[in-house]
Amino acid sequence: MSRSLRGFAVSAGAFVALLGVGAAFAFGVASPFWLDLVFWVVFWAALAQAWNIVGGYVGQLSLGHTAFFGIGAYTSTLADLHWDLTPWLGSLLGAALAAAVGLVVAVVCLRLRGPFFALATLALAELLLITAIQWRDLTEGAEGLTLPFSPGLGNLMFETKTGFCLYALGLFALVSAVAIAIEHTRIGLLLHAIRNDEDGARSVGVRVLRWKVAAAAVSAGLTALCGTLYAQYLQVIEPSTVFNWEISVQLALLAIIGGRGTWTGAIVGSLFLTPLAIGLRAWLGSSHAGLHLVVYGPVLILSVLFIPEGIMPWVATRWHTARARRQAVTGAHA
């Protein structure tokens, strides 16, 4: 088997095994508390993975992914309430809308080098927050929207948390499949080239802007799908919860700490940090609002200072060095 094919087989195998473990948890765990935890771990992993496509593989930093998240949540919810449209289609509508918005912002900003994409996405998120609060006729303003609880597969709403866990796993599988496909095809190499040396990539004929914009649009669309998942799970959305700066930071944080530009990074990031956040929040209660983020800030700073490439690439480098050394030693004896 060729090297790249073996790499793909390993990735695919690990991925399927991971989904199996996730499904086993969803069916095997009875306690609602633990199911809730499983849900949020998978949910954040899917979101971080979606961010990873533009932030990790292409290295274009978005600080406003909550904009696309909110577009997804609001589009599917409004379509459901006003047109009785099933969230299956509503979420696709939201994804298309978010991808279009992401495309426009990317076309304008990614021509330029510098912090413009980060700034524009941040500004976009603020703009949509204000719009969602002000446009009362459509969004009910700051009070938000409530979805009636009517379980059923067609409604993407479930009696039990197990159902929602499987929904989250399915979405996570979709986003990760995109990431794995990128990593193991020519596209991954192209994006990697753009990230490492844009001018070099352009000089050998890579259409840099086109790939950057495509990555931003795909990332925005997948993020919007996660927004629908959030709306379906909680059945209540408010401007301040779906257009929330904390979401933008959290996404990037998980992907960066886990290892941006690797499909395993987002998962590792979520496995470590989501339980930490939920645990801190549950343990400290509302009396210490914001404490989990006080912990997060330094974690973020320390991780980019000391392992800027993230946990997974850091581990992988150590692993490959150790193996190369072992092989060198055995080779010398043979």
């Binding site: 290295g59 930093l61 600080l63 304008v108 900003c109 330029l112 080098r113 510098g114 912090p115 413009f116 980060a118 700034l119 524009a120 941040l122 500004a123 976009l124 603020e126 703009l127 204000i130 719009t131 609060i133 002000q134 700066w245 930071v249 990037a252 960066i256 941006r260 210490h288 609002a289 914001g290 404490l291 983020l293 006080v294 997060y296 800030g297 330094p298 974690v299 973020l300 700073i301 980019v304 200072l305 800027p308």
Partner: protein, 293 residues
């Protein structure tokens, strides 16, 4: 006449935007770092002035003389611990160090003072003057006057003093500046600390006008970045003029379109600048290109 009032109110507001943005743009020009924690420096200045007023009865305007030096010192420490290690790192690392700092400071404030809005009660806060058809409120006039005085002092400093020239030289080309015997590391520290101090003073000046809460920085950092981009990243004069312009645009659009939609107008301005002239009003063409050496 209401238009005249709006323009005057906008200029008064814009003066403070100019003071916040001029530090941000200098930090960007000299250190080549987009400081996402800049709004939190303003928030810290506001909270410090508020605490000084509540605990020690110190007037916010007098408090500027404490807030400025404290933020300057904090800026020096932060530069040494967090910024200097990443001065040659990738954008991603740089931005996330400042984002991490912003998250930490914002939620640290949330933990200490809670999410509530706090404001100060001052005897002169409601004083107004009628100048012809225009109404001027005292705290806004003071904030504008002090902000403008500081901005002009900064411009003069950059133009005519040895240190000012060293700052400009470092912004122009850090390698050559080093070869010419400028201690660029000191310039980085000095510039970052000055930016922090100016943002802090702007916070103290705003306290008689706005209520303070941990999230106040996020609102201002966005405006400050838009002002800095409009003025041309790295250009101090550009930031001052763009600050005044954005202030007028904000108040006018509040009057003419709808209050509460100012942010929408910022965003449109921002996108238009990026489409038409990314170097901004006073930036050099190509200055927006960040080439990390």
């Amino acid at each position: 006449m209401i238009i005249l009032q709006a323009v005057v109110s906008g200029l008064l507001l814009g003066g403070v935007y100019a003071l916040v943005s001029v530090g941000l743009t200098l930090i960007f020009g000299v250190l080549r770092i987009a400081n996402f924690a800049h709004g939190e420096f303003l928030m810290a200045g506001m909270f410090l002035a508020w605490v000084l007023h509540e605990q020690a009865g110190i007037d916010p305007y007098l408090g500027c003389f404490i807030v400025g030096p404290v933020l300057f010192a904090a800026g020096l420490i932060i530069e040494r611990l967090l910024i200097r290690p990443v001065i040659k790192a990738s954008h991603m690392t740089q931005i996330f160090v400042t984002v991490g700092l912003a998250v930490f400071l914002q939620n640290g404030a949330l933990m200490i003072w809670g999410a509530d809005y706090h404001s100060v009660v001052l005897s002169y806060a409601d004083t107004v003057w009628f100048v012809g058809p225009v109404v001027l409120s005292l705290p806004r006039v003071v904030a504008f006057a002090v902000a403008m005085a500081l901005c002009l002092a900064l411009l003069a400093f950059l133009r005519w003093t040895y240190w000012g020239k060293a700052v400009r030289a470092t912004a122009e080309d850090r390698e050559i500046a080093r070869v010419m015997g400028i201690e660029t590391e000191q310039i980085y520290a000095f510039t970052f600390a000055t930016g922090a101090a100016l943002a802090g003073i702007a916070g103290a000046l705003l306290l008689p006008i706005y209520a303070v809460s941990p999230s106040v920085g996020v609102q201002f950092v966005l405006v400050a970045f838009i002002v800095a981009v409009l003025g041309g990243l790295g250009s101090a004069l550009g930031a001052i003029i763009a600050g005044l312009a954005i202030g007028v645009v904000e108040v006018l659009s509040g009057f003419l379109i709808a209050p509460g939609l100012q942010q929408a107008v910022y965003f449109v301005v921002f996108l238009l600048v990026l489409i038409i002239r990314p170097a901004g009003l006073f930036g050099r063409r190509g200055a927006e290109e960040l080439v990390v050496t």
